[in-house]
């Protein structure tokens, strides 16, 4: 996927009274599927709202497709679809009527072919015609919200917890849909979610935030490279003696014995690799195996947030 930048936050600060939701946040939204991750209260939803002009920044500048997010929000909203975590519809309408209304509000017209296609994509084609939204299940509302976000072939779709109300099967389908839309229609996505393994499967790049600041941004590999700690599994004999030796080393972040192996978290991989054979040799112990534990998004998330 291309890495053309379609949106940028430049030192954006947003305060709500005494709370600073975004603290000089600078990030770039690239074409492709972007994952927006961070602990609760990191400022993810605020960033999404700010990019649609629902919030005015106190300082800094936010742009999408070259438009200022506050001053030109209408132009942005024509190119962007959004699914919020808090779903709200006109509950007295049927799903199809809701989509027709939102299509009219978005582009001034409604294409019944497009609407039917969207409903088919989110598997709501049966219920959408005659059932009022008020009677929909949480999963159906979520799927309707997704269909609404995809109205009018948006260039960017912002999804805030898109799979939170869905069962595993439907979650997999939604993720497939996101991937296929990205490939077939070149639709970009910014997905905010706490379900990291799902994001890891579909996202090209990640934006990791905490306390209103950007912690990391890039592909998973780039994020791992920037992570300060790395985990190893060490098998050596006698294990307790090796553990005692390693405990005294300053680059060791964490160490524990699990069954017959040592789980070590290190801050300096180079120094660890250099010192380990020396320490083993000095102690007269034997080293059977050293394995670097493969980092994933969850481990990157954990270590990055803990570093703050």
């Amino acid at each position: 996927m291309g890495c053309e930048v379609i949106g940028e936050f430049k030192a954006v600060t947003k305060r709500f009274g005494a709370t600073t939701a975004l603290d000089g946040l600078s990030l770039k939204i690239s074409q492709g599927i972007n994952g927006l991750i961070g602990p609760n209260g990191a400022g993810k939803t605020t960033a999404i709202r700010l990019s649609l002009g629902l919030i005015k920044p106190n300082a800094g500048k936010a742009e999408l497709f070259g438009f200022d997010c506050w001053n030109d929000s209408c132009a942005i909203r024509r190119k962007v679809g959004v699914l919020y975590e808090k779903l709200a519809f006109y509950d007295h309408l049927s799903g199809l009527e809701q989509l027709k209304l939102m299509a009219k509000l978005k582009s001034g017209s409604e294409s019944s072919v497009e609407l039917k296609e969207l409903l088919r994509l989110v598997e709501l084609d049966d219920a959408a015609h005659d059932r009022r939204i008020g009677g929909y299940s949480a999963g159906m509302r979520q799927r309707l919200g997704l269909a609404q976000a995809l109205l009018g072939n948006p260039e960017l779709v912002l999804l805030d917890e898109p799979t939170s109300n869905l069962d595993p099967l439907n979650r997999a389908k939604i993720l497939e849909l996101i991937t296929s839309l990205n490939k077939e229609k070149n639709t970009s996505f910014l997905i905010s979610s706490h379900i990291l393994p799902e994001l890891e499967k579909v996202c090209d790049t990640f934006i990791l935030m905490d306390k209103g600041k950007l912690l990391r941004q890039g592909s998973l590999e780039q994020m791992i490279d920037k992570t300060f700690t790395t985990k190893f599994t060490v098998k050596a004999q006698p294990i307790k003696q090796v553990a005692a030796l390693l405990k005294g080393e300053e680059y060791i972040e964490d160490l524990s014995i699990v069954e017959d192996s040592l789980h070590v978290t290190v801050r300096d991989v180079g120094l660890f690799k250099q010192r380990l054979p020396l320490l083993i040799g000095q102690a007269g112990a034997s080293l059977d195996e050293v394995k670097m534990v493969r980092s994933n998004l969850k481990s990157v998330f954990k270590s990055a947030v803990e570093e703050v």
Partner: protein, 283 residues
């Protein structure tokens, strides 16, 4: 495109705001209040042979009926307007609507009109119909009333709507916003229950200024448009000046028209400007 969008949105908002049983409750409330406040026909008709007595009956009845009718307008307008803004904010509907290319000006206008327009029509109908059937012996009065009740209802409801939006967008929580809007509007409605000449004769000097409040002012304006003057305003209370000098009777209809227009826009315009220029979704 904007008109088309506006109409589509207005239709959806009207259906939402006036969904069952809101419309039924409003109509029932207005009907009950009117029926209880209209004087028995026999009393009016039997007095109609005496012009002064008829005039007195008119003053009491038109004012009392419209004042009583105002109570359900005020309640429903306060509740529905604060619900429309606070509940939509709290439940995320406003966020959803502001995330499509709908201008904030259009959204505010549509939400405001969706509450005000049906209430204005209902209040106009009830005022004309119920007061009309009471005073069928005076068709000219009924015709005048049907003409003047519409702008007076609209302007009064705009004040009610404006203050309710202010409360809803300040509190941003459905139940507290509705209760506060209700209390605020009842506070402004209360002066309509006080008969100025009675209060002044009892030495309550503050009563002189009650006609400057929004709803009482609207009633006085309506009375003046209909040419109704209460009996006995030439009486001079002990130690006081003539009742005819009181603001309610001495100020011309034009002054009350200006006052009513002022009240109609005092909150509506600042809230409109605030909504499209500064309002944020920051839950």
């Amino acid at each position: 495109m904007s008109v088309k969008m506006g109409l589509a949105l207005l239709k959806a908002e009207l259906e939402k705001v006036w969904s069952r049983p809101i419309l039924e409750i409003t109509v029932a409330l207005m009907a009950v209040m009117t029926i209880f406040s209209v004087r028995p026909l026999t009393e009016i008709v039997s007095h109609s042979e005496f012009s002064t007595a008829f005039q007195s009956a008119l003053t009491g009845s038109v004012s009392a009926t419209v004042a009583s009718l105002m109570l359900p307008w005020v309640i429903m307008c306060g509740v529905l307007m604060s619900l429309s803004f606070a509940r939509d904010y709290e439940q995320g509907m406003m966020q959803s609507l502001l995330s499509v290319p709908v201008s904030r000006k259009l959204l505010f206008t549509v939400k405001f009109v969706a509450v005000i327009l049906p209430l204005t029509l209902l209040s106009w109908f009830f005022t004309t119909f119920f007061v009309g059937i009471t005073f069928y012996s005076s068709p000219w009065l009924v015709l005048q009333l049907s003409f003047f009740a519409l702008p007076v209802s609209l302007l009064s409801l705009m004040f009610c709507g404006g203050i309710s939006v202010l409360i809803a967008l300040t509190i941003k929580r459905t139940i507290p916003a509705v209760l506060t809007a209700l209390l605020a509007n009842l506070f402004f409605w209360f002066p309509t229950t006080i008969r100025t000449q009675h209060a002044l004769m009892e030495g309550a000097g503050y009563a002189n200024y009650l006609c400057l409040t929004p709803y009482k002012g609207a009633l006085v304006f309506l009375d003046k448009l209909l040419g109704i003057a209460p009996m006995g305003i030439d009486i001079v209370p002990v130690g006081g000046s003539s009742l005819a000098d009181a603001l309610e009777y001495s100020l011309p209809a034009g002054s009350f028209a200006v006052l009513l227009v002022f009240y109609a826009f005092i909150f509506a315009i600042p809230m409109f400007v605030y909504f499209y220029r500064r309002f944020e979704i920051c839950e």
